[in-house]
Symmetry: D3
Subunit: 300 residues, 6 copies
């Protein structure tokens, strides 16, 4: 890994020197929230929406990071520019902000919150091939947390259920990505992504009761409006996905990725669908960069 | 903090040098399990039960620590003996084992699991006074995870719901400890402890559907049997706690601690109850140490 | 109605002069708890258990009646003795205590709690015939309140769901009594009574999660123990009642009453069962009075 | 209290002479439905909508009041005009209709339904100050009844859960008003009021699955349409309220009241929000009366 | 019964010779899906929509019928034309396709799927009278399957819950049709039909979470659009049906049928409503046949 | 298949001539209940318990078979003896009784119930090898029906959820058997079998809330009592099975079969466990036949 420069607790330092204290509540108790963005050709994208969501997470869990949202935004842009000279070989960056409640055991912290802003390369290798072949999905037994226990609208690290879902998806179809249901059995979200289906020309996806309010999900809505494709947020069941014409994932790194198989069954004709491709084209235009081409170029 | 010696990834080192990598899945994704014990006069207590539970957690989440349970047990005893010379000022130790899935981003890890065994002083200061005055409890809106999302019988770090419950308890009664309900509205567990009530001479507590299978809880059952006090595991509701004769907490550090107030209402006559005191006396006898006296002596 | 003497807000007065203020929260907001007992040959029965339950209800809803439990007990006995001269024509009395939070609108009360202790004749006419013919039951669509909304272990007046269940039972089988299920679909309780079934010689009934902890229910348990009939508290479903050998109701007024038909289907052979009759005989012996005979004599 | 004139069971009489019979099922079993309106400058407001809702409640619980909806409407207007001479010192009236199933014990009634129509002063003192300072709210553990047990769309007196929620809110923040969730954990209603939040210029509130279909809620929808403010009815969670820009209550007496704090956390900037104020201004215009000014004038 | 000709496993044969093997999984394990259409004056109606739904059912349960959807469509039309000479005495046909997984015990099948396409007379006698008098409904205790156990969007034969619901409806009101709720207590569907209510001129019906996606339901939506009657799909409760202005059923055989009584209570004025009649008129026009007149003529 | 003789609707005939009418409600609507037993060396086993359960199923679904339980028992024994001459090549028989509600479409039947009693060979080939190697299990996403929709205590043919669960288990681990959870996420039953786990020497299994009350399950309880192995019926979660020392299936055909792998993870040491083997030995002794040896001999 390159010597990326990261902001950590008030200082800029090589990311390799950032270490989490083993008594930090963010580690011991998952007492941490975060957010992630990516750049397109080195330029940030909807950064303010991400930072606003981070501050909603902070407000919910009542951690005061000691920085305003504007300061966090500036630090995030600075993290990008400070690492710009390292971008060429990787194409683009993910930017990551995280804030823990600080050092402290089971009682409350003595130390101040730990705040980090750092960049990492976009992991093109994980999904570049899937733009053409499609990515498989598996509906897992492991469910999303119910909001009464922990609201999925907060972006936090308490993700053991995501880890279990990932293992479970691989049990069924190696390399497939997990698709969770909420506690009522409705389609909810994946592990760091939202998922969508298309029936009779309508994009359908979960309401935001038990999912993260994805920024990429919002971008899908905006592009669909622009493309005159209707979008519906509603309670959906596995039946709807099994019998859909088309399906896709959306997330910060890859924007939109076609889902071609679910639970070992082809979706539609088992090939990436036209709506996913339309969205990718429109998104590429919006950011002035061929999203798929870049991914394939840098996946190598 | 003293220079305790810890085992970390195959080496013994000062605990102050143990640092968690910011890309370790144990930090980024809560992909970690752990267990905690304490010593009584420097001797471990039911260590094998704790290590067995740790290995059940490991089995469930499918992390192979690269150590057998017996090796983990030996390392844990070694951690105690290596730090024995530092025990006098603090009275006794907590021993902590944790195992993460290793370094890796959203994909699966390239690195091996991180394994740590370390000791910390028992935090007598947090509860010593409560043996006499009683500790307050607050039933929170925040619920336990349902087993379908994340089984509370695993001991993991994905505890954002515990953090929220703690804040919430303090909103109602500063310093009070949270008491969670399961998704069906039954009494379940606290944030690192089980809780019990006594009605008409019977100890009653939650079944282990949505709680950690507490080792201290098991000890309470054993002592109650020895003292001829009946114990019932059943679905209980807040009514049962509000109208109980007596209530108490149980956990590794303090063994048993009387609960005297719940939701600002006195339990029974609002004083520590006789059953809690009987259990503390029997437990003290079992470990050959005056549990309450020691706590008060070292509470500082 | 006779000129029974009642205790009301510190005074003894004719019951006909007791009137509830239309601004009393007990009326406007159902802000009231109560309990009911009956006499056997003019003597109270398990009065202390009823008063203790009343005080648990008071504690739960946080109304202070301005009287100790002992004073309430004394007033209740006094209510019986003050009306003893009126008992002959009716056989025995129900005794009723109720306590409201006092006068006040949607804000909290300015006035003190209203406390009433009064007697009424046992309503033998409602059920005397059923000792021989059996009483019908109907499982209703209307459910018991879940404890998270309002715990059925409190004895209160917020009983609109009982009124609806009664109407519903009459839709199916005129004169039948409603049998409620809890929110999970398990048999729970009736509208002022518990119900039981007998399979292979075992008395089976609901756990007390979503029912009133009936004093008569407790007496059934005690008599069953004395008669060597096993009793199990568990989650039961309509299947268990439809296929039972026998079933019965238990409540303060009639003690035990056979249920012979449920949802228009005969239970067992459609006649009162032997266990119900054994319990009635044992109960009669315990209170020194032929319970069935008395009811039939005074039903007229 | 003034000598208001009330209609009670066919007669007009001083309200102070209206007394509820202690054997009335409306008192003993909560077997009663009601509705409440208010006047603006002595004129009724949406009275027909309220009376229609009362008749839906009556239809649901199958009580025949012996009066048509038109007759009830006339009686209600008559109650206002008969008390008009008493209005000046209090500003405006609440009008209250209630109908019980009549006298009867656990069996069904012998007597006819009791019908009352009466007026009371609007309780300006309870909330006048909150137009400027904002009213606090607390999300309670106590839940709304599920429709399967008792449909919240009926307006009845079985409100022990409201009483418990009110006590609970005061435990957290004295003087705060309770905000209930439904059994699934979604925002539902308060104790006699609906509540709303505003995010990005959109008014969002609960669907009417588990709430009263508020007449004031309907007025909020109408005014928002007139003001071109979008309104969405949907399943919302506490997250949505904690992170909202603004929130408010709506009810008959105060129309709209800003909510500025929830669970001790400021909503938005912690001050009454612009949408609430727009609605109050539009409502004032609609009824030809300065709602806030009147409340402050008469709050005493 | 006439000698209708049916397609069975590759051959055309008299329907009276079609017999199901007692080891066919379609019989032993309910391992079968099907669909049903009707003709209007001998012409098929929305046959392709029905066949598409059949193929969604087949896809979900993973049975390959060995025929394409187009071949199934052709066979279905052929079944109509082969029996056309028998249509006059009965007016019109129902067409029925079913596909089982084939012969096999508890293990998987050795034999090929069994495929049948057959016609039967429309059962006008069952409902013709109800166009004028209205059909009664009863809300049953028996619930729809939750999608997590068996998705009601599949059209299958595992209908024991429908049989129980039908018996139950007859217990309350002989001849009435059952109306099921989903597991959350919302109005869902009947036993082979959807149901709708009308309030203030709006047609309201269940979302398709826990119901069959009725083709007739779709036709109701289309006609309503054409008639400028708004339609809402939402979570509804019994309250909404009890207090509706009007209600109706929709299904393949009778298209639309007024519901005039629910749970023995009149809906609206207890007479067939104007919206149902408008829909019937528009439907008749769409298919060029007086639907009601034909039914009454052939009900014989 | 041999020419077994079967009882069908009052006659004895070759089973190959038994055919189900395609309009029989048992086929069209799953309106059928059944039971299954097996012989040991040609002798029936607990036949009366099975027939009693069949009659509980009949009572629940309100089908009158036109035969008493004693007559059904006699017919069942007669089916065995009439086919005894065909038993030698297959070892032993399964005996199957089923009763449908008779011919009839969506309305109720015109015809009488169809009653069948027939024998089939025990399918030793399906499981004989698994006595030594163990059978794999997979916990499915497909859930058991909730009793409110269709009580699993009835033995019926509405088993589409079983078919889906079987396909799903094969997706994960080809040849593995499905293990269902109930709607609350607790271990429930398989598709025609119960399952058990062993922890610390205690046999643990689901309560009978959402499972068939297995006759083999009852036999396991009886043998365990005889062998002094404690048995607990309780709510269990996947955690309990993943971390068990041992697990097994129980059903009529194979009695007890070890489960050695669940969700691709070994149970205990991944070999058949001692408790399963003890139970098989005791069962063999009880029926006077080496159960495992016979299965292996006839597995072919």
């Amino acid at each position: 890994m390159q010597e990326y420069i990261a902001y950590y607790n008030g200082e800029w330092m090589p990311f390799s020197e950032v270490r989490v204290h083993p008594m930090d509540r963010g580690f011991v108790l998952g007492d941490i929230v975060f957010d992630v963005e990516r750049t397109f050709d080195g330029k940030s994208f909807r950064m303010k929406q991400h930072v606003d969501r981070l501050y909603r997470s902070l407000k919910y869990v009542r951690i005061d990071p000691g920085l305003t949202a504007d300061e966090m935004l500036d630090l995030s842009e600075e993290a990008i520019s400070r690492n710009e000279h390292l971008r060429a070989p990787v194409g683009d960056f993910r930017v990551n902000q995280w804030v823990t409640r600080g050092i402290g055991g089971s009682g409350f912290p003595g130390g101040p919150p730990a705040v980090c802003v750092n960049v990492l390369p976009v992991d093109f290798a994980r999904y570049a091939k899937a733009y053409e072949d499609g990515q498989h999905g598996v509906i897992t037994k492991t469910r999303s947390y119910p909001p009464e226990a922990l609201d999925p609208k907060i972006k936090h690290h308490s993700r053991m259920n995501f880890n279990l879902a990932t293992l479970e998806a691989n049990d069924v179809d190696p390399g497939a990505w997990p698709l969770l249901l909420d506690m009522e059995g409705n389609l909810s979200e994946g592990v760091g992504y939202n998922y969508f289906l298309v029936t009779d020309g309508v994009i359908r996806t979960a309401t935001d009761t038990a999912i993260l309010q994805g920024v990429s999900r919002g971008m899908v809505f905006d592009l669909a409006r622009q493309l005159d494709i209707p979008v519906v947020e509603e309670d959906l069941q596995p039946y709807d996905l099994y019998t859909a014409d088309e399906a896709f994932f959306a997330s910060t790194s890859y924007c939109v990725l076609p889902m071609t198989v679910v639970d070992k069954r082809p979706i539609g004709d088992g090939k990436p669908g036209p709506v996913a491709n339309q969205l990718l084209a429109a998104w590429s235009e919006a950011v002035g960069l061929d999203i798929v081409g870049q991914a394939q170029r840098f996946a190598g």
